[in-house]
């Protein structure tokens, strides 16, 4: 990025290293000046990239005018760690400046007494908006929407619209268009600012507006993101079940949901939380990660138990102990590929009853082909190592069995989990590994017991 000569522009860009340096050198005055002009979205990113002590130091320097917006950009865990350091009055002062939907987003995280004093001190109008947002469930469009919407009637001319706009000091962020309603308040479409500026001013709104679809307040966030992505929107209307306009969602919200969702998928696979603070204290991080290790330990002992069934066999042919991780690991890798593609397909709404079977058949075919190919390679390698044709035959068969089982589970597990309303991104991988370990050890050692003893 180009650094502008004049750092007082609205979007001064400051690097993380600069901040670390200024903190190190105790240049607090200079820091304070920087923090006045930094974008709160960037400030939030910087705070999240700091170890706790430095984070506190920096937070103390953040001017009050920046606190509210910065808080709304932070992930839960970091935000909560900062909120507990704020006095109730300071917190109330900060949230008073927030939009109702940003406030709704974090309101339920506050301690009871803070919520009460916020409710007492908030102006009626904002309180009412807050309650509207809160009346919708978390994760729905209604909770997310801003009620700060400029509407125009469909039966007026652009000239009237222009005069109406001149009455405003400023339009809300991301106003690419005005929401159009009819006399009775029902949503009709969107009038792009574009059109207001380029069209003849005698034209009626309804003749130039877009018949853009609205989002239902009860739609879930995920549908909202896909809607924005597919239609490449900057803003979209939110309506109630009667098609009455009640709010608006903007593209930056959609982008945040997308980021949160992909974080959840990415981190959930390792039992991590997308709200996880990279710089959380050791104890709280250990606690959370340990749960996941515990779950994994159960599956590891399940695999060990399967091996335990065949100790006699292992006792007689020690080469089996050497080779058995190969069978389990190949199954784990192949299954993981299918699982990841299926989870992504589900997340993008690409898998339906119309293509599920096609996909399952395809993956199982791939499993068979890859199974045959690697069975030969591994059998040859095993023969070179142990010069025992029986072991080679057995490992080849086990590889084919495990790769087909892996493909079938990679498709079936996420579909079943989704039907049970469990996020496959969170537990799919553990279940899959359990299957591929158990099938891998059991087929390899079982076949060896049957044929080689």
């Amino acid at each position: 990025m180009i650094e502008q000569d004049n750092p007082s522009g609205e979007t001064a860009k400051i690097s993380l290293d600069q901040i670390f340096e200024l903190l190190q050198e105790q240049e607090y005055e200079q820091l304070r000046t920087l923090l006045e002009v930094i974008h709160p979205g960037q400030l939030a990113d910087i705070l999240e990239a700091m170890p706790p002590k430095k984070r506190m130091q920096l937070w103390m320097l953040v001017p009050e005018s920046q606190e509210a917006e910065t808080l709304s950009f932070l992930h839960d865990e970091v935000r909560n760690s900062l909120i507990i350091t704020m006095k109730p009055d300071e917190l109330v002062a900060a949230v008073e400046q927030m939009d109702a939907n940003d406030l709704a987003y974090i309101f339920e995280e506050f301690p009871e007494h803070v919520r009460q004093s916020i409710e007492e001190k908030l102006p009626d109008e904002i309180l009412e908006r807050l309650e509207t947002n809160l009346s919708f469930e978390e994760g729905t469009a209604g909770r997310l929407m801003s009620q700060d919407v400029i509407t125009v009637r469909n039966d007026v001319t652009l000239e009237v619209v222009l005069r109406y706009l001149q009455l405003h000091e400023e339009l809300p962020d991301y106003t690419d268009g005005l929401m159009v309603i009819d006399r009775a308040g029902f949503y009709q479409g969107k009038l792009l600012l574009n059109k207001v500026l380029t069209h003849n001013r005698e034209i009626l709104v309804k003749d130039v507006m877009e018949k853009q679809q609205a989002i239902l307040a009860t739609d879930d966030e995920h549908a909202v993101t896909l809607f924005f992505e597919q239609f490449h929107l900057v803003s979209a209307a939110v309506v109630d079940l009667n098609n009455r306009l009640i709010g608006r969602i903007t593209m930056d919200d959609a982008m945040e949901i997308l980021r949160a969702e992909t974080d959840r998928t990415l981190l959930g696979r390792d039992g991590l939380d997308e709200e996880e603070d990279l710089f959380a204290p050791v104890i709280s991080s250990t606690k959370r990660r340990t749960v996941w290790l515990g779950i994994n330990l159960i599956t590891a002992f399940l695999a060990a138990w399967v091996i335990g069934i065949y100790t006699d066999t292992l006792d007689k042919i020690v080469a089996l102990a050497v080779l058995m991780p190969v069978v389990a690991s190949m199954g784990g890798i192949a299954g993981s590929q299918t699982l990841t593609l299926t989870i992504r397909g589900l997340a993008l709404d690409q898998i339906t009853s119309g293509n599920r079977f096609w996909l399952a058949r395809k993956e199982i075919f791939i499993g068979i082909l890859n199974g045959l190919l690697w069975a030969v390679v591994i059998a040859v390698m095993a023969w070179l190592w142990f010069q025992n044709i029986g072991i080679s035959m057995v490992i080849a068969a086990a590889i084919i069995i495990n790769l087909v089982a892996a493909a079938a589970s990679g498709i079936a597990i996420p579909l079943i989990l989704q039907r049970m309303h469990i996020d496959p991104a969170l537990s799919g991988a553990v279940i899959l590994t359990t299957v591929t370990d158990v099938v891998g050890f059991m087929s390899f050692l079982g076949l060896a017991t049957y044929f080689l003893l």
Copy 2:
């Protein structure tokens, strides 16, 4: 989403199942009508969610007016599978309607003769733009930018701006503001349409514009996405090294890059390509996945080789063969947690020299704590199973060693890979698993050999 009564709205929403059904029932007329009004972004998603035969059937029904934009929304692999079915003339007709930057995005994928006939037939103006985009490297802002920008001078009044805008039929998509330049063409900032509409028309542009930062044409895509996310922008100017305005990037591009990046991280971990077609033919999918299985096989045999060193020990104490996967697997899980957090931190530019050591120390502490905790649990479980205090002691020690090694590698591997300019999201997990397998088997079997024989 609410289905509008009038399906001729610009953004008719059609479900995948509807399309499958209409194809099944051969309702081609109805399909063609739907395809006329569907948003090309959604059409691309639908095409990607179809098995090859149905995809072809549907593509044949897509009206020519939709072809160009739809192609630009598709992932490489699906797009190429459709392009090869198009006659050169048809293809040229389609790309003539594309924006230069969309065309630049796919141009290099075309066969040589198609590129030539495109270059011959394109109007000079578009060809020139195409060449400008292509003159910047893939993955840079310059390649991505649109040259379709409305600029105004900083020394005119809003009245002049308004009159100027009236001359346009329409403004480019995502025009939330006009780019402001000075007399010499140097970028000055952005004039929000907002302001044009709400401010007094006598005011000069320079007194009401935002001093928004510009993106350098040579900046990479990743920096562009973070810039849009942090500053919550709809559009941003692109300038050359002399700060001369040459183009504009919009939020939908940033969102697409974000989606592609997270896809790459998510899929890359399993050796999959983010351009992978979920419905690609079995053979081509098998080929790609098989490479990854081959790489994994090498690491699996490396682990097997480590086990092979200790066959004498395993021969004497078969319980070790039963328990050894537990040690490797716990290390793999713990390491994977650290690795994933580190990769995400790197992707968000949150890890710098200022916090790297803090983070490494923290992760190793977590490794020690979790190691101690699970060492005790596993030692007890092993004792209950085999009633051998020696085995319990050895597995406890091996767990601690492996969990600390896992934490250290989880931090070190991605940092080293990044320094070597290798994407840690792609190969980090394989390397990590190799380390935790080798360290796990070696410490467990090695300690057993030393103490128990």
